[in-house]
Assembly symmetry: C2
Homo-oligomer: 214 residues x 2
Amino acid sequence: MTLKSQHIPRATIQRMAVYIQVLESLQRDGKDVISSELLAKTCSVNPSQIRKDLAYFGEFGVRGVGYYVQDLISSIKQALGVDRVWKTAVVGIGNLGRALLNHREFKLRGFHIVGAFDCDPFKIGEIVSGLEVICSRRLKEKADEIGIEIGIITTPPERAQRATNYLVDAGVKGIINFAPARINVPDDVTVEYVDFFHHLYAVAFNVTLNIESE
Amino acid sequence: MTLKSQHIPRATIQRMAVYIQVLESLQRDGKDVISSELLAKTCSVNPSQIRKDLAYFGEFGVRGVGYYVQDLISSIKQALGVDRVWKTAVVGIGNLGRALLNHREFKLRGFHIVGAFDCDPFKIGEIVSGLEVICSRRLKEKADEIGIEIGIITTPPERAQRATNYLVDAGVKGIINFAPARINVPDDVTVEYVDFFHHLYAVAFNVTLNIESE
DNA sequence: GCCTGTGAAATGGTTCACAGCC
DNA sequence: GGCTGTGAACCATTTCACAGGC
């Protein structure tokens, strides 16, 4: 594996996800080859930025030609480690948790949901999208049995830390937190926060700025 | 208004949203005053970072004391422009669109959903969460009538650009795009992209890194 | 004494410009 | 000729360190 073990900027990783998205769309449109310039325009970034980003992981392009779309998608996916199946579990079976469990795209993208957990006795035992809801306290026990690599927290904010603790105890090293609360984890556990109010705030701020400067 | 008309980093705005989240949680716990050091620890950032961020908008703290939680929340909300009601509309009434329409938190946070649009004739006329679904082509007409400031796109990716065009035509200056596709807008329109697969990819990458370095 | 606000220093990321290669 | 890959130059953001004020 082409692993240049230098530090890779977080921003680069975020852009890589965007590149995949755009490249898959180009692929659907039947495009075979793409230059960094054209890809850059679609992603609203600088062409050198793309070349630098990709260079962290290897040499994927052909000089004088560009990048082969299909190959580049595979290369990026391999570089990010998303060319395989990841076993995930959802903790917190409310509206959002159910929506995620029913979302087919997860499986299509290699993220298989293999566990559904909640601490509400009324929900335990219920079948959601083919999975039995299990008591959160039994997370470690279940994880040992089925293997859970990524945890998705969809509890109310006040229960997010407890859900986190169960996941960490179970040996999970990656967490996506949809709950609007900060959580504490050991250094070897990665957390990503998803909260679209943050995005709404950002848009509101920018619109306000533009209105004022008129 | 304390408007230091210098450029404010995008990263600062993102952190401001986090500060609000944490401060509101502190407020619920009955905390009156907080130091930049303590707030920093909770948000996993550097204390000077917080002081610098806040300084873009004004002097909200008291030397030797810290920040008054209640006041700081109000000040930040005012600074971001989220201390008022924003009229929003959802374009694309699928699973996600419906979920957002039924989400009470929007109204609580000042984002009132005043329009629901879709281009599917079978959906037009349907009542979702008290709103009649209207043909996307009539967006401008409706916007002139009710006023729409922020658009939320929840269409499939191939229809995202058309939804965008309708919104831009209607004079909307801020867009949240949940569709997994890039969209083109004029310079005076702000777009925020929400795609949790990007976050899943980021987590997968970090977990992969940690596994490899063991 | 303590904690904020802020210029100055350090860090890290982005863009430029061109060498290298098809 | 054209487009990638990359060191060097540039720019922005973060962190430090301390002055300012309760």
